[in-house]
């Protein structure tokens, strides 16, 4: 019995060890990818922030202007853009984004989804949600062109009144071990944010002199799609860095767990080995004793 146990343990060690090799390799790959994604994120953040700030200032200083992107409509259907990963093995990354999205959604009939990433698409498709669009295989290396095509689709849906509000669900990259799912309202422009209010106070008197060439409406028609594009691009970048960060952490702990497990099994194996040797000696001694 002891010998059989030994065989089993040995096989177990071998299998855990090969899993460990895989997780270790994945950890290394995702650290490299994470570094790249972070560098890219660092470069795009200024753009993302500047455009966000500018649009807020403009929106607050153009009060009284009638524009389809500014005026809230009665909400019959809400469009959600949900950014997930194409692949799993990244801890709670995908579930967290999807859960955050779900908790924000109302009844299923009043929701439509633009899914980015295979995981999110599969989730919403399986549950028969209204899918307006899907973009897969881009989450790891998003480009501005991807963001543009997503934005084009979203704006088209909004313009045709197929959706009355657009929410963007993504994961904000805070640090390698800390990522936070976030929801951002893209359309219609929400002017009641805190910073907007601050600007309003500060800009009183000043913003009235702001001139818009050729007209405020024309500027907004151009600017708002641009804003949506860049927000989506920024969110894609944040999400891709978060994905790699989450995967790295998940793989690191998987590797650690495997090491612990191997240690434990090794100890068990040694004990079993020793027990079988002891037993063997006892048997020989017993046999010799009987011959006397």
């Amino acid at each position: 019995m002891a010998a059989l146990g030994m065989q089993d343990i040995k096989r177990r060690i071998r299998s855990v060890n090969s899993t460990k090799q895989i997780t270790k390799a994945m950890e290394l790959v995702s650290s490299a990818k994470l570094r790249k994604a972070r560098e890219k994120l660092q470069k795009t953040r200024p753009y993302f922030e500047t455009i966000g700030k500018t649009i807020e200032e403009i929106a607050t200083s153009t009060k009284g202007i009638q524009h389809e992107f500014l005026n809230p409509r009665e909400i019959k259907k809400v469009g959600y853009i949900i950014i997930t990963a194409d692949r799993g093995l990244c801890g709670g990354y995908n579930t967290n984004v999807i859960k955050t999205g779900l908790s924000h959604m109302e009844e299923k009939e009043r929701v439509s989804v633009i899914a980015i990433g295979q995981k999110g698409r599969d989730f919403f498709r399986k549950r028969n949600y209204d899918l307006d669009g899907e973009f897969v295989q881009i989450s790891e290396n998003p480009t501005f062109t991807h963001a543009q095509s997503i934005a084009k689709l979203a704006i088209e849906l909004y313009k045709q009144e197929l959706v009355d509000e657009i929410q963007l669900v993504y994961t904000e990259f805070i640090s390698t071990i800390n990522q936070k799912p976030k929801i951002l309202k893209l359309l219609p422009l929400d002017m009641a944010t805190d910073t907007a209010k601050e600007n309003e106070e500060k800009d009183k008197g000043y913003s009235e002199f702001m001139s818009y060439e050729p007209s405020p409406e024309a500027v907004l028609s151009y600017l708002v799609p641009k804003y949506v594009e860049s927000m989506i691009y920024g969110a894609l970048m944040e999400s891709s860095a978060s994905e790699q960060g989450a995967r790295r952490v998940a793989m690191e702990s998987a590797t650690d767990n495997a090491t612990d497990m191997i240690d434990k099994l090794q100890l068990q194996y040694n004990r079993a080995r020793q027990a079988s040797i002891t037993q063997e000696i006892a048997e020989i001694v017993g046999g010799a004793e009987a011959l006397k």
Partner: protein, 136 residues
């Protein structure tokens, strides 16, 4: 010395320019606009075209695609999809893009892609022009 103001040009993949300048000339959708210090506050979309930046009496040119400009007191921000100095322009790529766009314009009839092809053509021609003006 002429008085200066702060100019910031940001594109999705980098901060293209961030410095004190004397003058910047931009092509907005209503025409070329020269901005000096003390220009009135203004926001305007930009067209594909050349951009001139004057700093310490020296004028530098750059190619810029669609975007918009926001002028404030003492500070001007340009946000664009892409901006390039002449030495950064890949002329061969621009030439290839021009040919491709021209071909597409010839072959396609009434379809939506003509708009895209036209924009691509404009961008390519603009890049080639900026590159050539620098060489002279």
């Amino acid at each position: 010395m002429a008085s200066k103001f702060h100019l910031e040009i940001v594109t999705p993949d980098r901060v293209f320019y961030d410095d004190e300048v004397e003058m910047v000339v931009l092509r907005t959708i209503t025409g070329d606009v020269g901005i000096l210090k003390g220009h009135m506050s203004m926001v305007s979309p930009l067209k594909i075209g050349k951009m001139k930046i004057k700093k310490d009496g020296e004028i530098r040119e750059a190619a810029i695609t669609e975007g918009f400009v926001k002028v404030e007191e003492g500070k001007t921000i340009v946000i664009s999809d892409a901006a390039e100095w002449p030495q950064e322009i890949d002329v061969e790529r621009a030439e290839a893009a021009r040919e491709r766009a021209e071909k597409r314009l010839e072959s396609s009839k009434e379809n939506t892609d003509t708009v895209r092809a036209e924009i691509a053509l404009k961008k390519a021609i603009n890049r080639i022009e900026v590159y050539q003006s620098k060489k002279k």
